[in-house]
């Protein structure tokens, strides 16, 4: 079983939908629902390039209309703050013409066969499911219209749906959905090819602002996160894990731990060793107790002798120093356009810098946790997982069970950001539940989380830019070294994958005659994973701050420089310049989601206007600009910074313009950008993970800092381009351009260029 990174999956598959009746018994079995009525299932299947059906996957989203008028929609993607439990169901409800106040959302368990892809990352829930959700709603709508037409003996064309009723235009005739269920049950389910989707003007919810459905439960403390899952007789496990990745337990003295009142058992978990993998637990010793406090206390009293393994000597600062020398070399050329060496030889000016960015931890405020019950050869789990199917497969493999024997219930996630895509903490619960014969909740402490993460990898990059005698940018060479995510599965991998390179490096869109993108060897010594926007973070930090320096060298402002370098309106392709490297385009065909310079120029022009780019500002205050397309969404960002005499940085305003195609839930798009700016502010100003003797040096929010309210960006203005283009995701795209825009603003305010993250103006 392999857990795939967000950019490795769903290469060119298309998702289509078909709706069909599901027997009431099957549905009740599947959903635990107790209401009767009409049950529609949406089947998702994949098509090959010619549109031929290649595989039929069992139903993925269920829509039920009860005789009481209640519409129940199954949310199959994980909710971690992006609002997807609201945004996908509202698409169905809008197309159906449902009364949103009567819609109930239930969360799907992890089941590949039943629901199709549930792996919630890569900002693709809306991108992938917008059309299938609309078709699901439209098919149900047509069925209800036909039922009413039959009952009233009128033509379907005279009918419409609104607020949970079928209405006849030009008459007062109307009937609740619930009252049409009996007739609808007797009719065949319409085919997707028979429905006509609504025109945009007919939408009541899509393109507007809908509050999240869990709002009231959250503010009253009733929302159920992973940490809140409970079963009868549940015990708590807290684990002491090997401080070095790949290390193993040699000997355990658990006498003090067992003496803590409430402690029941101590169990050793063997762990993956090396490679650590994306789907196995670390080696450790677990304390099982009646309550969390006893488990934490006793865990801290365990005396464990470790065999630390080959990573015990690892020093991150030392590796960064070494990589500075490494990226000074030629490296492995992955993209080539023109002759960079000639451009350099003929340059009037050469700008060259090395950029450093640290390891980062996800630090979801809800630490990893999972509850497992193993009995009678089956396992049931409740967990805050982004990837319920991957977790289910991993548990089945680990426990030697058929996958059908594992039930994976998904709770709300108290933050995800890529951390909860990995099932290691869920496997710990499953292993301990099996070994102990008890229902086990594994609870990670904050220290466990900061010290045993799947880290965002540190990065060393060198960029060389050449400007010719015509004052044109004539050459761009971008050298990259970082431990790769792939190395977590395969230690022989020492260079970034195509997918990692695509995130702000090989996708360099600017019209420069000579381009070299080269990668260099960097070994992994930690578990490397992905963090919100992944390699876009360091790669766009380096590229977009260098672009600002290029603008200055050319005597241009950064916005004009970017617009000029993007060149004429066109669709950019990269494949022909790539060397033994593909361009995954975030899992979509480039023909379907082209790199469109016109769309990028539009967001840039608009952000310049929105921010008052070019206006004069008081001393110590300045604007900085950066723009970047990631996860197929175009974003331009201007950050206003103030740096006072004590070098204290404050951020009064952030301006974003986003083109994410058709905007589904406007309020949640805005909130993702508001939060994305704060997330990026954390990594720009606060966060760093360092490793000495193979062990992470930070342990809690004192050492690993994230932005707090007083330092946080104050006003975040989000302007969404009005568009009918296919919708694209917004979870990750806000993050990459903020940090370089901030760095560029700091330069404009202080004259100091930033080459190392997090920003430190004292050095």
């Amino acid at each position: 079983m392999k857990i795939l990174a967000p950019f490795q999956k769903r290469k060119t598959e298309k998702v289509n939908s078909e709706i069909f009746s599901v027997s009431r018994r099957d549905f009740l079995k599947a959903s635990g629902l107790l209401t009767g009525g009409l049950v529609l299932g949406v089947s998702f299947f994949s098509c090959d390039d010619k549109g031929k059906k290649v595989a039929t996957v069992a139903p993925n989203v269920y829509l039920t209309i009860g005789s009481d008028g209640k519409v129940t929609i199954v949310a199959h993607r994980s909710e971690m703050g992006q609002g997807i439990r609201t945004s996908l169901p509202l698409i169905i409800a809008d197309e159906l013409g449902a009364d949103w106040t009567k819609v109930e959302i239930i969360q799907a368990e992890g089941d590949e066969k039943k629901y199709g892809n549930q792996n919630t990352d890569g900002s693709f829930s809306v991108r992938m499911f917008y059309k299938p959700m609309r078709e699901a709603g439209a098919i149900a709508r047509l069925l209800l219209l036909r039922a009413a037409a039959k009952e009233w003996n009128v033509d379907v064309d005279q009918l419409d749906t609104k607020n949970g009723q079928v209405i006849q235009r030009d008459s007062s005739k109307k009937k609740d959905f619930g009252d049409l269920v009996e007739t609808a049950k007797t009719l065949p389910i319409p085919k997707a090819s028979e429905v006509k989707l609504k025109d945009r003007e007919q939408f009541n919810m899509i393109g507007k602002e809908t509050p999240i459905i869990d709002l009231h439960n959250i503010v009253t403390g009733k929302a159920v996160f992973g940490i809140d899952a409970v079963v009868e007789g549940m015990k708590i496990a807290v684990i002491k894990r090997c401080p070095v990745v790949g290390g193993k337990v040699k000997a355990v003295n658990d006498s003090k731990a067992l003496a803590v009142p409430g402690v029941l058992k101590v169990i050793t978990i063997k762990g993956a060793g090396l490679p650590a993998t994306l789907s196995k637990p670390l080696s450790g010793v677990a304390v099982i107790a009646e309550n969390t406090w006893a488990a934490i206390k006793a865990r801290d009293l365990l005396e464990v002798e470790w065999e630390l393994g080959p990573n015990a000597g690892y020093d991150s600062a030392k590796q960064i120093e070494e990589l500075k020398q490494v990226v000074a070399q030629e490296g492995t050329l992955r993209r080539k356009r023109g002759d960079f060496n000639a451009a350099k030889a003929n340059a009037k000016k050469v700008i060259e810098h090395t950029y450093i960015a640290p390891y980062l931890a996800h630090a979801t405020i809800e630490p990893p946790c999972a509850l497992a019950v193993v009995k009678n050869g089956s396992c049931e789990v409740w967990a805050c997982t982004q990837n319920p199917q991957g977790a289910r497969d991993a548990v089945a493999t680990e426990l030697g069970m058929a996958v059908e024997k594992v039930k994976m219930n998904v709770t709300l996630l108290g933050g995800g950001f890529g951390r909860k895509s990995k099932p290691d903490f869920i496997l710990e619960a499953a292993i301990l539940a099996k070994e102990s014969g008890l229902p086990i909740k594994v609870q990670w402490t904050r220290e466990d989380d900061i010290r045993h993460d799947y880290y965002h990898a540190m990065s060393v990059q060198r960029i060389v830019a050449t400007i010719d005698s015509q004052n044109k940018l004539s050459g761009w060479a971008h050298h990259i070294a970082n431990p790769s995510i792939s190395a977590t599965e395969d230690l022989s991998v020492v260079q970034p994958s195509d997918g990692e390179l695509m995130l702000g490096a090989s996708d360099f869109p600017y019209n420069v005659p000579a381009i070299n993108i080269a990668t260099h060897d960097a070994k992994a010594h930690l578990r490397i994973g992905w963090l919100r926007s992944v390699r876009n973070i360091p790669q766009v930090f380096a590229a977009a701050t260098m672009l600002d320096e290029i603008a200055e060298a050319r005597g241009m402002d950064a916005v004009s420089n970017a617009l000029e370098l993007l060149g004429e309106d066109r669709h950019i392709t990269f494949e022909q310049e790539l060397i033994k490297t593909s361009y995954p385009n975030y899992g979509e065909k480039i023909e379907d989601y082209p790199w469109d310079t016109a769309r990028m120029k539009k967001v840039i022009e608009r952000v310049a206007k929105l921010s008052g780019w070019g206006k004069s500002m008081p001393a110590g205050t300045a604007l900085g600009f950066a723009a970047h397309k990631s996860f197929l969404t175009y974003v331009a960002c201007v950050v206003e910074v103030n740096v006072d005499q004590n070098k204290k940085i404050s951020i009064p305003n952030v301006y974003y313009v986003v083109d994410c195609g058709l905007a589904v839930n406007v309020d949640r798009i805005k909130s993702q950008f508001e939060g994305g700016a704060q997330f990026s502010a954390s990594l720009a100003l606060k966060s760093t993970i360092t490793v000495k003797d193979g062990q992470v040096e930070q342990g809690n929010f004192d050492g690993y800092q994230i932005i707090r309210m007083p330092d946080s960006p104050k006003q975040i203005h989000v302007d969404i381009i009005d568009s009918d283009a296919k919708p694209t995701g917004v979870g990750e795209p806000p993050v990459p351009p903020f940090t370089p825009a901030l760095c560029n603003a700091i330069y404009a305010a202080t004259g100091k260029r930033i080459y190392t993250l997090p920003i430190d103006l004292s050095i």
Binding site: I218, N291, G415, N700
Partner: protein, 156 residues
């Protein structure tokens, strides 16, 4: 182990626990009130904020033995119907994203407004700095507190 009688949301609870057990785990594991969240265990993130009498405390670092006769209020006891002005303002501004830190944020904000009915923006930032939000909802939190205080501002 020792026996304690503590008053939570107006109800007396007799608990028999380790003397140093933080209030957080008494609430969550012993009494079963799950609205108060665990985030750091070191009073660094504020997810576990509850009221001791009218003051916000970090329950993850507050031993049960130190409560004595004090009245504990958790998110479950802040209002009968979830209609405390702070909760209503949170709903109006759709503050939460993942929601995990929000009960702690709300309890901290409610305690702030008890002490200072009309806080300035600077006072809000000062009072709320111990509550982390990884989703980054700070500006909506600020707007909601100002709303609850009856001094709403319109901002972008």
């Amino acid at each position: 182990m020792a026996k304690y009688s503590i008053l939570v949301n107006g109800k007396k609870h007799e608990v028999d626990v380790l003397e140093d057990m933080p209030l957080l785990w008494v609430l969550r594991d012993i009494i079963g009130l799950k609205g108060t969240k665990f985030g750091c265990g070191k009073a660094l993130c504020g997810a576990c904020t509850v009221h001791l009498n009218d003051t916000a405390i970090r329950s993850c670092s507050f031993p049960v033995s130190a409560i004595g006769e004090g009245k504990i209020t958790t998110i479950e006891g802040l209002s009968e119907e979830g209609d405390h002005p702070v909760q209503e303002a949170w709903e109006k501004y759709v503050v939460p994203q993942c929601g995990y830190c929000q009960t702690g944020q709300i309890m901290n904000a409610a305690a702030l407004l008890k002490k200072n009915a009309k806080p300035s923006v600077a006072e809000i930032e000062q009072a709320m700095q111990g509550n982390l939000c990884r989703c980054g909802t700070y500006n909506r939190i600020k707007a909601a507190i100002l709303e609850a205080a009856g001094t709403p501002v319109t901002n972008g």
